[in-house]
Symmetry: C2
Subunit: 451 residues, 2 copies
């Protein structure tokens, strides 16, 4: 009997992150300043980010050593298991072999701490006393609060006010780890005060929360800002996922034909995919599928062009797949996938034909999530259910063709703080949303033409 | 650098449970019939429990093989990690070595599936179509729903109505795994109907839910009832925890001086402790501490005598440490520890002087839980926080004396579905309850005198 879970010992944990920039056939286009539209350099970012992270953002080195103090914190839950989804295979009646990398066992319940821990560490090294960030439903905020508690840094999270009120559990988690959580818009920043002056009952948005978190960082003596996805250094830190999976696949004496992850900003997909992508660049035959919501299909329906990272045009412009920064996705329960853009590294890989996208409706994703819970046990986060759906689709294709493919997907997080979504699904209260072509076209029409 | 987590491979998972009954110097006193007060035999239990489980209840065999189909489901999350709590040690400044066995990674988030899976399996073998049970806050109900989904048995949970309304998340988990959840008292049973006739707004209680679940089992053609703690066969199934820990301690080249678990019905404590207890019976110097709430101190303040397992005197009488079946514990957040009695096997071990009890107030337990989350990462269940508090007390004793003791405790579950309790703790809304001596004496005075 072969093992259900393929485990690595702590001594087998990768000691360096993999930087795909070293192997991409084209360089990642530089970010542009939002006021001048000119390329910005590392110095422009220093008021906001730690220097070591800025250096990683532009590094062309293939391997970047993981400091011991980060490995020590990773060891709380890493190496993460690679699991053979034998029960799911059986339920589907597929000849495919399905594996998933289980990132749900981190204290915060998702892959997010892989980069939160790194960002907290480098900031601590550079004397930062406080990290600020924004959070929507709270996955990123909880990861950062946990990471800050490990390094003794203060954590300040601006949480979208409507989520703060309606989704109290991740807010509670941040409190347990000593994080300070402020509903946004708040009276604490100029940005927040001006929004509240115009609309005292404003429910907030991720764009507003970003404005507050950045302002709080730059106006404070020794605070910095952090971001949980999209940026190159975030993708870098997440590659520990794929590097572990690579070793585990070897132990299983197997190798993936298809690698799958859900995409919002792109980081959990990149984390699993990039280490395998270097094998594809070197000639290996392997497919990569980025699973996204039909209601927010930035990869499959967006354009590859410069756009702002936020809705209020305060961040640098990034070359990426985008639906337009003014596009507001429908209120699906996979909150972490409701982002108009995509990581520039993931976008470039897609433009180069290295990866493909697939878009799914939320009801078929919840259906896949329920099947996964009934077979493999763990209840998936709504975001993760998109990757599961994509894996099920691939496995059912194999059932039709008889191909014995090897499918690997990223189980990015559990759904224990998202059970209200399942309640609504079972109550029949959830709906699928039509592909919003008119609104996407309108949002794209607003973008500056820069090339 | 030694490993933070000590992992076992699937092939190292124990293949038999350990039955302490084979080594206890005295036999466990038999249960008595609630109507006749006479000892009851296996046949009396057959309308309620699967035959294999009844056989395990009275077995004197030292080792009982774990069937392959159970091992296959255990492999979803087992073997569970043994973790060296280095960060906690450092925060306490103790010379003690602290280890915890991490049972929080099961799909249901606690140790409960260890027995739920076994009970579902044996029932499936004997043709049972449906399992019924009661649940309070929902830990046991979720575990059984998960287990039933693995074996394709229907699961019917009577959930105390006030919990059903106020704690929806574990109810949602049961739904995801296909469990049917009915708020109790309900119109579905004679017991429920008679309660509702007297009080249509009755909020329910665990005792009432037990009545409904047992009635639903015995009045149905092929349904059986299940219990998540207290009984001998439940203790047996949980010993996989301690058997794994024993192997892991060997890998760590260490051995516990003190073994700690929280106790409600006794099963997670027994699971970790019993395999080590056989070494104590064989002469080894090792202490066992059962950590319980000050507001429900059945081990430290109760009497060892025959009492009913439920509040409505429907179950057999068990010889155990009890506060009296009519004693109603204060509304602490560690709902799983609010039980008037104690497992007969744990009680007998205490009476024989093999284990000791320690009682803690809830505020000091939440304080320990917060320290644990800030150091070791995972947010503990309120029940588990009692074991952590006891471990902290032992570690601080070592700090005073300079003794380099080895402390092992059971991390029985995470608190991700209990975050509302933490909110109330941080808001200063929780209180400690004085030792309820008068109410305990009154409840004990009601007990039948049987010896």
């Amino acid at each position: 009997m072969s093992s259900k879970r393929i485990l690595l010992s702590e001594s087998e944990m990768p000691k360096a992150w993999y930087n795909l920039q070293a192997d991409l056939p084209e360089p990642v286009p530089p970010p542009l300043h939002p006021a001048t539209n000119q390329p910005i350099g590392p110095a422009d970012l220093e008021p906001i980010f730690a220097r070591a992270l800025i250096a990683q953002e532009v590094s062309q080195e293939r391997w970047i050593d993981i400091p011991d103090d980060i490995l020590r914190v990773y060891a709380i839950w890493r190496p993460a298991p690679l699991v053979r989804a034998t029960n799911l295979e059986k339920a589907l009646g597929t000849p495919a072999r399905i594996y998933f990398k289980d990132e749900s066992h981190s204290p915060a319940g998702s892959h997010k701490p892989n980069t939160a821990v790194a960002q907290a560490y480098y900031n601590k090294q550079e004397g930062t006393h406080q990290l600020t960030t924004e959070t929507g439903a709270g996955q990123w905020g909880t990861a950062l609060a946990f990471a800050c508690s490990q390094f003794g840094i203060k954590c300040k999270v601006y949480m979208v006010k409507i989520s703060y009120q309606q989704k109290p559990y991740r807010r509670s988690m941040m409190h347990v780890w000593g994080g300070e959580v402020t509903p946004s818009p708040s009276e604490e920043t100029n940005a927040g005060r001006s929004i509240l002056a115009a609309d005292p009952d404003c429910p907030g948005s991720l764009g507003m929360a970003i404005s507050e978190a950045v302002e709080a960082a730059v106006t404070s003596g020794n605070a910095k800002y952090t971001l949980g996805s999209v940026l190159n250094h975030v993708m870098l830190h997440q590659t520990i996922i794929g590097l572990e999976a690579e070793k585990q696949m070897k132990i299983a004496e197997d190798y993936p034909d298809v690698v799958i992850g859900c995409v919002g900003g792109g980081s959990n997909f990149a984390g699993l995919a990039f280490p395998f992508l270097r094998h594809k660049i070197a000639g290996k035959d392997i497919r990569f599928v980025a699973a996204e919501p039909q209601s927010c299909p930035s990869m499959s329906r967006g354009q590859y062009r410069y756009d702002y990272g936020d809705t209020v045009k305060m961040t640098p412009l990034l070359k990426m797949h985008t639906l337009g920064h003014s596009f507001v996705p429908a209120g699906i329960h996979a909150g972490g996938l409701r982002y108009h853009g995509m990581a520039p590294m993931v976008s470039l890989a897609a433009k180069l034909g290295l990866i493909e996208a697939a878009a799914f409706h939320q009801l078929e994703c919840f259906e896949a999530a329920k099947l996964f819970a009934e077979t493999e046990g763990t209840i998936p986060a709504p975001e993760t259910s998109h990757a599961i759906r994509a894996a099920v689709v691939e496995a059912l294709k194999c059932k039709q063709t008889g191909e014995e493919k090897c499918i690997l997907f990223n189980f990015s997080g559990h759904g224990l703080c998202d059970l209200g979504s399942y309640d609504r699904y079972f109550a029949g209260e959830l709906e699928d949303f039509a592909y919003p072509i008119d609104r996407i076209q309108a949002a794209l029409a607003e973008l500056p033409v820069l090339e």
